[in-house]
């Protein structure tokens, strides 16, 4: 196919600009009347759906204890080695618990494999995406920051039960 020669000069209508301005303004006015998507973050917060993978957290039962039994499977499966678990013995029926559970949020890639492998439904992905640090130490989340009441995680847990 012979190539169509592109025009070198503007036509008369193009030269006077007015129709183009009118076209542009028409688009602007059309969109002004449409509903808005932009959120006024951080005044306004985005609340993600249950399928969202925010930072992993530990499930805290109503009695204030973790579900985690420190089996170390999440730590083993975690591709970037973000999780460190140290087990210890307790008198509870499940005799093992994590005396230390640390996720390095600088390493975590939010893949959700820890959640997938956990035999106790003890670690799940939350809706928290606000992670900014000014030094490496702050990025180490211990049990104090990880434990989250099961109520707040219910919709993720339901989602997992349906789709995992």
């Amino acid at each position: 196919m012979a190539l169509k020669r592109r025009k070198k000069d503007l036509t008369f209508l193009e030269k006077i600009y007015i129709p183009e301005i009118a076209k542009g303004l028409a688009l602007t006015f059309k969109n002004m009347l449409k509903p808005k998507f932009t959120m006024q973050y951080p005044e306004e917060k985005f609340i993600p759906p249950p399928s969202y993978r925010g930072r992993p957290v530990l499930v805290m039962e109503e009695n204030g204890l973790e579900r985690c039994v420190a089996c170390g499977l999440c730590s083993r499966v975690c591709p970037p080695l973000a999780i460190e678990v140290q087990a210890a013995e307790t008198d509870r029926e499940k005799e093992r618990y994590p005396i230390k559970f640390e996720i390095n949020m600088l390493r975590c890639i939010f893949c959700g494999l820890c959640e997938e492998v956990c035999p106790e439904e003890a670690i799940v992905m939350s809706k928290d995406y606000e992670l900014a640090f000014t030094n490496r130490k702050d990025a180490l989340y211990g049990k104090d920051k990880l434990l989250t009441p099961v109520k707040q995680l219910q919709d993720r847990i339901n989602f997992l039960r349906n789709y995992k």
Binding site: A70, C71, L81, A87, A88, R96, N104, P119, E120, L140
Partner: protein
Amino acid sequence: MPKFILDGKEIEFEQGQTIIQAAKKSGITIPHFCWHESLSISGNCRVCLVEIEKMPKLAIACSTLAAEGMVVYSESDKALSARNAVMEFELINHPLDCPICDEAGECKLQDYAYSHGNGESRFNEEKAHKDKRVPLGPLVMFDGDRCISCSRCIRFCDEIAKESQLTFIKRGDRVTIVTYPGKQLDNPYSMNVTDICPVGALTSRDFRFKARVWELSSTKSICNGCSRGCNINLEVRNNQVLRLTPRQNDEVNSFWMCDHGRVNTYKFINAEDRVDSPYLRRKGALARSGWDEAFAAASSELKSYSKNEIAFIGSPYATCEDNFILSKFATQIIGTKHMDFIRHFNTSFGDNFLRQGDVTPNSFGAKAVGIFPGKGGLDLDGIIKAVKDGQIKAVYLMEDDMIAFNPELQEIFSKLDLFIVHATNFNKTTELADIVFPASTYAEKHGTIVNSDGRVQRLKPAVATFDVDRALEGMSLSRWDKFGTKFDSWAEGNKRDARSSWRILAGLSGAMGHKYKYGTAEEVFMDIAKSINAFSGLDYEVIGELGAKLKLDSVTKPVIA
């Protein structure tokens, strides 16, 4: 040799061998729970069922004797379906405990369930419940739910430890393990049952919940608890030794090690009181110093005494390499003849199985490489007496806490004008020392030790120091070691600025104007092999993982007092 056919392969066997034994010798493992190479045959788990031509029923490979021309199938449909059925039975009452069970990762039941199980249970009823967390003895914990009643632990106590302490009680699905009334599982070898228990029913109370087994790096080494020199694995995470496990060596310890060796000989490596740099005594107290400063101080101090005022004490805890260089240093650089080492005997520790009355790992080697008084020189008693009388004014002591060993020496040795010590940990002896050099422990260096039978065996570093780097030294690496950075708290652990004693001595001799040319422990050993008859023909390669015998006629075995 007679032969039989296993899965189409010809297997040679000796008369009287069972199918499973002969197969194992040829490198084929038939699945088994209750059979153990060095225990009697029990034949109760049935997982080793195989199909044999011309036999009406399947037979268990662990108790069926191999016979000429026998045709055996361990992977036929019939054999496999039997194995699957046995696995289904085993799993009926076995709890889903893997996440909280220490055996996970090295569990036979887990492995076979993975390779032979159906992946699903048809058993909907409630599982049987038994006692969990029962301390059977001071070092072993029992979990009744997990026991698959293979009886290995019972047979171990009866046949190997020779103290009947465990037995089955009850029948059927209520059968469980208990100690005999009034007895405990407390024989000196009790923890071996935690190794041979195919599941997590018996676990070590010392290691319980400390780590997942897949997080550990494993290094082949030798126990330093006594002169038997049991072959062991040093299992390390985050640069800390977390457990020792026995390593098979039929010439030394078979599959076993004693509880003392297992729990009491590694904790000092991780301890807080490790000497972590050279120390010099300043104004009465030991103060941290740099290496060069310490070498210079030791060198100028040593030079201020005449050679007959200096005595050297080697160590049955240190390697042959360390002792060899010490003896060279004493005779060639200082020129003294006063040299010996301290024998540590505990006759009540010895028994007629593994444990030896000589509770040091290398007294044989120390003597063989030259730690003894020269002609007219003083031996240990002579040295002590001469220190008391003030004839010996300076003592150079390598890796031995002699004051704790004999508290009477405290007063005598505080008379010394100069006391130089190599120590791994601060102790009673370093309290008296003027100069302390930080010595690497047996888990932090290359070297050789000689057991009471004259067998040379190899130590390899498992814990990194400033001197041995995990990656550069080719040490065993766990996944965490491989991918950790200096920003990960779990990656490098605590590293000490310690060196092998021979390397410290080489540094000091450099400061005294006489350089030794050894770069590695292996080069020191080459020199030992060249200059000492008993070691001739040996090198690290020949010694290998299982050790090699010294030429015994050329050294006299140290007598046990």
